[in-house]
């Protein structure tokens, strides 16, 4: 069924492409938001990723998973967004959280979000895919294009950095 849709989409059938990618738009947005923490930027990243997916459909092989392929494009788009000059310029104004009291920051999740932002792109991607989008580790490995052991290692190191904030929230409640 999916292979048929891929073939039709490759032939230029937009409805087939919509049937393939459409259901992944919401999770792709969640992935992008998990990576960027900015609604507008996440929507733009998904839109750009869908555009690239449409243009690069010839690279999809029949029988291969569409979801890891599309999520990999979204993840790469998020990486490009974070590297862009605008991202660094716009993020400079993101200092309102500093004025919040510690309790407020914990309750609102600001500390955890900030801890997530300190992770490297690869670590954050693995954590978000596995713990936020509930992708099995094998599929996470397919998205990031790394061996399973590498993915486990990235998740382990990433969690080491965000664990104190999670424990603080647990303790606070």
């Amino acid at each position: 069924m999916q292979d048929d849709l891929i073939r039709e989409a490759k032939a230029g059938d937009r409805q087939a492409f919509d049937a393939l990618v459409g259901p992944m738009i919401d999770p792709a947005y969640r992935l992008a938001f998990g990576m960027l923490h900015d609604r507008e930027a996440a929507e733009d990243a998904v839109q750009e990723a869908a555009f690239k997916a449409w243009k690069k459909l010839a690279n999809v092989r029949d029988g291969s998973g569409m979801r890891p392929w599309f999520f990999a494009i979204v993840a790469n788009q998020c990486r490009s967004t974070r590297r862009s000059r605008w991202w660094s310029v716009l993020r400079l104004g993101d200092g309102d959280q500093r004025s919040l009291q510690i309790e407020d920051r914990i309750v609102r999740g600001a500390d955890l979000r900030r801890a997530l932002r300190t992770l490297s792109h690869d670590q954050r991607l693995a954590v978000v895919l596995h713990y936020y989008l509930d992708l099995p580790l094998e599929e996470v490995a397919a998205v990031v294009g790394a061996p399973l052991g590498t993915v486990k290692s990235r998740i382990h190191r990433g969690l080491q950095q965000v664990r104190p904030q999670i424990e603080a929230r647990e303790a606070f409640e």
């Binding site: 738009i25 000059r85 999740g109 955890l112």
Partner: protein
């Protein structure tokens, strides 16, 4: 901390911004109509070459039969069946030899220079409804066109209210100036768009929310549309509150909410602010042939009786105090040079061509601004011939 706790906590901090329910529709609507080169090109390359060869042979045969009649309209041509309705008084300069398209309440006109003859284009008159106010490459169109840097095409926006839809449908067109073929490169619902620039293979347009924003295909803001591969992208701007209204030579010009004039380099993102007209309202009206922005500065607080500035004089504080508004050319150094503060001219839309910058006054006067000689009155048309208002509709051909 268990995996379940980690999952729960991540959802708590990341699920605060749910996706827009229209996101899927917007994403799908933003896709180019054709597949990219990676897909389309490979598959149809051989077939395309064969078709091209066949088309070339057939077209050659047809052209050899029809001769000059088959040649399409090109930029510079105007309607050959103009109806002479009178003459304007030509003042200066008299060495111009061209026809200036004008849009008047009566219809589309051509002002002959230096003879002053006024010809009404029968294809664009008020009898047929609204007069189309812009003339480009042998065609009258309603929206303001933007010419590609190489002059081979121009872009404009259109909108229509379909009977079957409760919202406005907007489109961006690219027209080949040689063949006249009009190609819609994007169409969307729930927004109105205005084309503000045409770069190399890219059309820049502002999108505005229409009456029913829920159906909007794209969000309000500045967008770029790929004329070759299709598709669109939102232009990253550092300040959403800046009104961007013109693209020229790799930069988009706008007016920040804080005032003044801003140029954003589209390649590097570098922002240059020109602190002109502090406390006044600024509008980017267009560009001259050198890419210098033409701006209208409208004074917020008018002080009647104050000394007026003379044209072409450099103004350290460019707000006109005696007049409510004035038109300026802003130099590359950010110096505003006064074009005019004549109340009959300040609301006219300037049109730049190889001769200079053209303006039409509300009193039927036609003016030409040149950097060397400043602003000169070229002609005076009897307002009765115009039926009311008049504006310059394009380059003097």
């Amino acid at each position: 901390v268990s995996d379940d706790v980690i999952r729960r906590r991540l959802r708590e901090v990341l699920d605060v911004e749910p996706p827009d329910p229209t996101l899927r529709a917007r994403v799908m609507a933003s896709l180019p109509l054709d597949l990219g080169e990676e897909n389309h090109g490979r598959r149809w390359l051989a077939g395309g070459l064969a078709m091209l060869l066949a088309t070339t042979i057939v077209a050659g045969l047809l052209l050899s039969r029809t001769g000059r009649e088959a040649s399409p309209k090109t930029a510079g041509q105007y309607h050959s069946n103009l109806v002479t309705i009178g003459s304007a008084q030509v003042i200066a300069p008299t060495d111009l030899h061209c026809r200036l398209p004008l849009a008047s309440t009566r219809g589309g006109l051509f002002l002959g220079l230096p003879d002053g003859q006024l010809g009404l284009d029968p294809t664009n008159t008020s009898d047929a409804g609204m007069v189309r106010g812009n003339y480009v490459a042998g065609r009258w169109i309603a929206a303001s066109p933007q010419m590609a840097p190489d002059g081979t095409a121009y872009a404009y926006a259109s909108s229509q209210k379909l009977q079957t839809a409760p919202y406005l449908t907007a489109a961006i067109h690219v027209v080949d100036t040689t063949t006249g073929s009009d190609r819609v490169i994007w169409q969307g619902d729930g927004v109105s768009v205005s084309v503000i620039g045409f770069g190399s293979g890219v059309v820049y347009a502002n999108a505005y929310a229409a009456n029913n924003e829920a159906n909007a295909t794209i969000k309000p803001g500045l967008w770029s549309f790929d004329t070759r591969a299709g598709g669109l992208r939102r232009v990253q701007v550092p300040d959403d509150r800046t009104r961007y209204s013109g693209v020229h030579d790799g930069g988009v010009w706008g007016v920040p909410s804080s005032g003044g004039l801003r140029r954003l380099d589209l390649a590097t993102g570098a922002v240059t602010d020109y602190p002109i007209g502090a406390g006044a309202m600024i509008n980017v009206m267009g560009f001259d042939r050198d890419g210098l922005p033409l701006v209208r500065v409208t004074s917020v607080s008018v002080k009647p009786g104050a000394a007026s500035s003379s044209p072409n004089e450099r103004q350290p504080v460019p707000i006109p105090t005696a007049q409510p508004a004035a038109l300026y050319v802003v130099t590359r150094q950010g110096d505003p040079i006064l074009m005019t503060s004549d109340p009959a001219l300040v609301n006219s839309v300037p049109v730049a061509d190889q001769h200079g910058v053209w303006l039409a006054g509300s009193d039927g006067s036609v003016w030409l601004y040149q950097q060397r000689s400043g602003l000169r009155k070229v002609a005076q048309i009897d307002p009765a011939l115009l039926g009311g208002r008049v504006s310059v509709a394009g380059s003097c051909l």
